[in-house]
Amino acid sequence: MIKRSRLRPLRTLGHRVTKRIWRLGAGARFFGLTLISSGESFRRFHLIIREVYFTGVLSLIIILVSAFFVGMVLALQGYNTLQRYGSSEAIGVLVALALVRELGPVVTALLFAGRAGTAITAEIGLMKATEQLSAMEMMAVNPISRVIAPRFWAGVIAMPILATIFSMVGILGGYLVAVPLIGVDAGAFWSQMQANVDWRLDIVNGVIKSLVFGVACTMIALFEGYDAPPTAEGVSSATTRTVVTSSLTVLILDFVLTSFMISV
């Protein structure tokens, strides 16, 4: 008896690990299914447009506001440090590189997971709980191609757009703090930025990052919703898992992508 209870933590651990791996496999299968069922959503593009409205346009306000403030804080903090070394003109470079390379894609993805990801999970979870997905199946309509795939592609389209808007608005916020407020020379602000921000290595890489994050966040949100137990509790814990899993995935993926991009 004693032996058994001592082994229990080990067994729980093993159980958890196998469950994670099982879910990973199920998620990958779901991802594959979504990809092969995507044909119809491109033939009926208005399905995707509708979802871009819900995931992208409705996330716009939160993206705009947070980008603006993130840019302003960056400029304040950056100026504080840079002026000690007498290079406060480099503030434009600092703000732009930080936003375009990292904060734009990453913060957008985190906000997206909280705003759009949870909405997607809850919606799909409830559709499943109220048998709407079953009903669709019985009407000989594939819910993956009719419900999942359009939302997936909408997320993949919306994320880079949101991230790009985030970076640009953040830079404008940084400009407002640096130039009119602190009094850095506007010419130096922009020209230093242009001299040091590379189109291919910084801006395009940032967009690539946000595309990958778009795939990851949307897929996680959809899978959690689709996989949620059809109860109120199941849907609510799935929504929580969406935020946790997407955030962790985004941060880990960010490291992996950055290390690839820097070594190339």
Binding site: Y53, V57, V100, L162, I165, M168
Partner: protein, 189 residues
Amino acid sequence: MERTTIDLWVGIFVALGVAALLGLAMKVGNLTTSKLGPTYTVIANFENIGGLKPRAPVKSAGVVVGRVGKIKFDTETYEAVISLNIDKRYSFPKDTFANIYTAGLLGEQYVGLEVGGDEAKLKNGDKITHTQDAIVLEKMISQFLFNKASENKDDVSSTKASTKSADDGLTANPLDQINNKGKGAAAPK
């Protein structure tokens, strides 16, 4: 919600995204400033490139005329082989000098082209034979100290003379290297 309203909003959304990307490209990034037209590539060998990186600017008379392409290491001559992508609008004589300079005391390194007097122009795939290595600060200091030490041995006590020869050491040595390189590169091939 009406489909047309949704379409309108999504249209605005996408337009905003495109505008932001254009803003990043034009105002923030170097897409406009560093945009090179079609380029031709010339090769230059250096014994030491210091901290030169790919995509570093290639300047002549202070104007950016190209970018550093690939940086390779030649296992036979033990030299760095650098390809320079130069804008087709600019052509340079065959005997152009390629130097590695540092912007400011600790800034980034770039390749400077100093124009020679040859009639023939550099073409795609040509090799610049006259090169000058990056100045490595530690090397310079150790040379300076070495020269000073050897002068003291020779009992040259005049401070004026010692500073003078130290100056010579600083400037003369790199020139020697260039001359050697010029011979070396001309002889084998």
